[in-house]
Amino acid sequence: MTRFVLKRILWFIPTLLAIYTISFALLRAAPGSPFIEERDMPKEVREQRERQYYLDKPWIVQYGYTLRDLATFRGQMSMKYENRNVIHDVLAPAFPISLGLGLAALTLSVFAGVLVGIFSAVRRYSLLDHLLTGGALLGISLPSFVIASLLVMLFSFWLGWLPATGWGSWQKLVLPVVSLAAFPTAYIARLTRTSMLDVLPADFMRTARSKGLPGGEVIVLHGLKNAFLPVLSYLGPAAAGVFTGSFVVEKIFAIPGIGHHFVQSALNRDHPLILASVMLYSTLLLVMNLLVDIGYARLDPRIRYD
């Protein structure tokens, strides 16, 4: 197991390097200088700024320097927010916020999704099942910005229960986390329900029940074990989705997280910020996938990694 983990961690480096290379190539090949402004900038000034970002040097040199700036966490100055270092001033403060939001959304979606899935599987075809399944399906059938906006109108304005803007107190976090968790919850609920339904009539469930274990414990202990595997393997892409979805949620609820920076930096052609965001995001995903695979390996004795 340790060897497996170590090998995976070692693989991070070439993977990240490949990701960096692809992104770098796309950026430098994209048409248009990042320093276009509404009024003409004197040529000399633009050249000076380009020099600041090694843009005047041959691309292989740029590649190396930028990589060094990233790897050593020195970071470069953002092209758009000129006074801010992309790593220290832009991403570092925003990262814990997005992480907190994302983790909360994931945790909520796992718990809520699994619970909903269990109930709807157990009380199959009942009214509760239909309601829960219906709700779950709604979560994967509507775009997240629609869900977020409707939640704001419903809970913030019409009912007045929760604040609309900002992120300072736990009340302010409820709506963003729920919006972000909507899709994964629904997906996990469906996964759980399907897996539970697969397992419920199965032989060993019958055996377990016949052994005299009370009904509830049977379902939870034995059914869930089987059902949890697909959920676990979904957590990897779920994390990816949560971080992408965070852009919408952060924009609507005015939360200063990294999700917003990913997209804005691309639209602004802010090369250092784009590269830093890409690397941050990729590292997160790789770590997340590794954790998921570790969990998977520990749970399923049929799967062996070496």
Binding site: G32, S33, I36, E37, E38, R39, D40, M41, P42, E44, V45, R46, E47, Q48, R49, K80, Y81, E82, N83, R84, D89, V90, P93, A94, P96, I97, G100, L103, A104, T107, S149, V152, M153, S156, F157, G160, P163, A164, T165, G166, W167, G168, S169, W170, L173, L221, K225, K251, I252, F253, A254, P256, H260, L267, N268, R269, G295, R298, L299, P301
Partner: protein
């Protein structure tokens, strides 16, 4: 019985939950508390920069006028200059020499006095190519300023050219003399503009590797030294900016709002919900459909907290005059005459924007603009036939370019329908993001492009001098010698009335004869403020002077 494997999983889940709670606790713990501000304000997007020399956006300018004070201050209601750091001034009879006498009680927020030297430093810095100030041309009325800017640019690329003198003289620490190229009637208003704001040299500069350079972080709280009614005590990016009353400001007794929180909220709906719920006291970012309804209710007397005022700005379309068939003025006129601007204002604008056929908005004192072209589809069709495209036959598809925005899209869609309906001309819409849009406009890579312009000062020049041959903001490929001559003449004209007449003649060429641009409507600015917020009024330049506001019930709670 949970096996060992499962116990591991349960521990894992527990660990994740604890981590989660920890992260959230950290996040919330670092969250912004320290009490509610006296005024909670939002103008939509976050400020791009607080460096007065570098800022270009209106929202940046609002914060700048709270943090810094220039020689003069422009009153929002009258748009006239009143004394700021300069307590009085003299203008020479030929209008070329301005002598400003500064207050001796004007102080920076660190207690040191504001001197004429600070202004000289700030202005030269704004001109210097190293600063890359986009608005450096605002300083060009000053003698030698443009040459100076060019010389510093040449020096940056290695040419050892001499630096020319600039007409900014420090006569004494409290007297500043400025020499102009030509009489500039709006100069007193101009020196209130953000590019002319003073900055303290010792705050801005720092020594790095033995060289003196600009400290890129000088604008941040804790380092920034400002001379205006407020100081920047906190700036959590994209979260909150807090301004606190400057104890060293000379007019501090007149400043009644102690702390102001500025929240950057990009989503207009969220901003409005926040205002309606009482989380915000004063907003300028309002979704169009809501603003329309608010205006209706306001007129019925039901929403006194809403106000709307004409702004000094114009929304227009540019024609690429280097491309066929747009190089023919008849074609351009036809397009201008056929466009149903009233429909655009009703369906897309929605808050009573006035339709316009000219570039300079109403509200410039002493100026009577040209008539412009009206709405005459019949004439448009005749012109198009004359130009060789009867009924639109043979007319190539026009590419209409705009930067991504719901508002611009709606206008473009209506224009598309208008031209198809009246002229049989097919238009294809393309939206690109802002940077690409600017690039394509600069490169003349479009047929028709959306444009908008807010006047930097209340004078026709700020609008009309854009379209001289080769002007940086021309971007139409249009060039007219007579127009250039008229604009240059206006700059030299001493007599105010004569000058305005010259501008009018120029505008006639621009909007009636040649029509390289298609003005559509003039901007209108909307604001929403709770009843307890006083001292604000929507105005021509959409300014907000925070030092003039006061709050009548500043107690906690909604």
């Amino acid at each position: 019985m949970p096996s060992r494997r499962w116990r591991g999983l349960l521990w894992g889940i527990l660990a994740v939950c604890i981590l989660d709670v920890l992260v959230l606790a950290i996040v919330l713990g670092r969250a912004l508390e320290d009490g509610r501000a006296d005024l909670r304000f939002s103008q939509g997007a976050e400020v791009a920069t607080l460096d007065p020399a570098k800022m270009t956006a209106l929202i940046d300018g609002r914060v700048a006028s709270a943090l810094f004070e220039g020689l003069t201050v422009v009153e929002p209601a009258t748009q006239k200059a009143r004394p700021g750091v300069a307590r009085s001034w003299d203008v020479s009879p030929d209008g070329l020499v301005y002598s400003f006498r500064l207050r001796d009680d004007a102080r920076w927020s660190d207690g040191s006095p504001v001197t004429a030297g600070d202004f000289r430093y700030a202005w030269r810095r704004a001109l210097h190519a190293r600063t890359a100030a986009q608005y450096n041309y605002m300083l060009f009325p000053i003698r030698g300023a443009e040459a100076f800017a060019k010389a510093t640019a040449a020096r940056l690329s290695g040419d050892a050219v001499p630096l020319p003198d600039v007409g900014i003289e420090v006569v004494s620490p409290t007297e500043l003399r400025v020499l102009l190229n030509q009489p500039t009637h709006y100069f007193l208003e101009l020196v209130a503009f953000s590019t002319y704001l003073p900055v303290k040299q010792s705050c801005v500069e720092t020594v790095r590797d033995g060289k003196t350079v600009d400290d890129k972080q000088w604008v941040f709280p804790g380092r920034i030294v400002s001379n205006g009614p407020y100081v920047l005590t906190e700036w959590v990016y994209k979260s909150r900016m807090r301004l606190t009353k400057n104890p060293h400001y000379w007019n501090r007794d007149a400043v009644r709002v102690g702390t102001i929180d500025i929240f950057p909220i990009e989503e207009l709906n969220t901003c409005l919900v926040g205002y309606e719920r009482g989380e915000l006291d004063f907003i300028t970012a309002i979704p169009t459909l809501a603003a329309e309804e608010l205006l209706r209710r306001h007129k019925a007397g039901k929403r006194p907290d809403f106000a709307v005022a004409p702004n000094l700005g114009t929304y227009y379309y540019r024609f690429n005059c280097t491309r066929k068939p747009l190089d023919d003025p008849r074609v351009r006129k036809a397009l201008a005459l056929a466009l149903d601007k009233q429909e655009i204002v009703t369906k897309a604008g929605r808050i009573g924007q006035p339709v316009t056929g000219v570039l300079v908005p109403p509200g410039v004192p002493g100026y009577t603009g040209a008539e412009g072209l009206g709405h005459d589809p019949e004439l448009a069709r005749r012109l198009l036939t004359e130009a060789g495209f009867p009924g639109g036959k043979g007319f190539p598809k026009l590419a209409l370019l705009y930067n991504t925005s719901e508002g611009h899209k709606k206008v473009a869609e209506l224009a598309q329908v208008s031209w198809r309906r009246e002229l049989g001309v097919t238009v294809e819409l393309t939206n690109v993001e802002w940077k690409v849009f600017l690039d394509r406009c600069n490169k003349l890579d479009y047929d028709v492009a959306r444009a908008g312009w807010y006047g930097d000062y209340v004078d026709p020049n700020t609008f009309l001098d854009m379209f001289v041959t080769g002007g940086g903001n021309n971007n139409t490929g249009w060039s007219n010698a007579e127009y250039d001559r008229l604009i240059a003449r206006a700059a030299r004209t001493l007599d105010a009335g004569e000058r305005m007449r010259v501008f009018r003649d120029a505008e006639v060429i621009l909007t009636e004869q040649e029509v390289p641009i298609l003005p559509i409507y003039n901007y209108v600015g909307a604001m929403l403020a709770k009843p307890h917020v006083k001292g604000w009024h929507p105005n021509l330049r959409n300014d907000i002077l925070f030092q003039e506001l006061w709050v009548e019930r500043p107690e906690a709670g909604r």
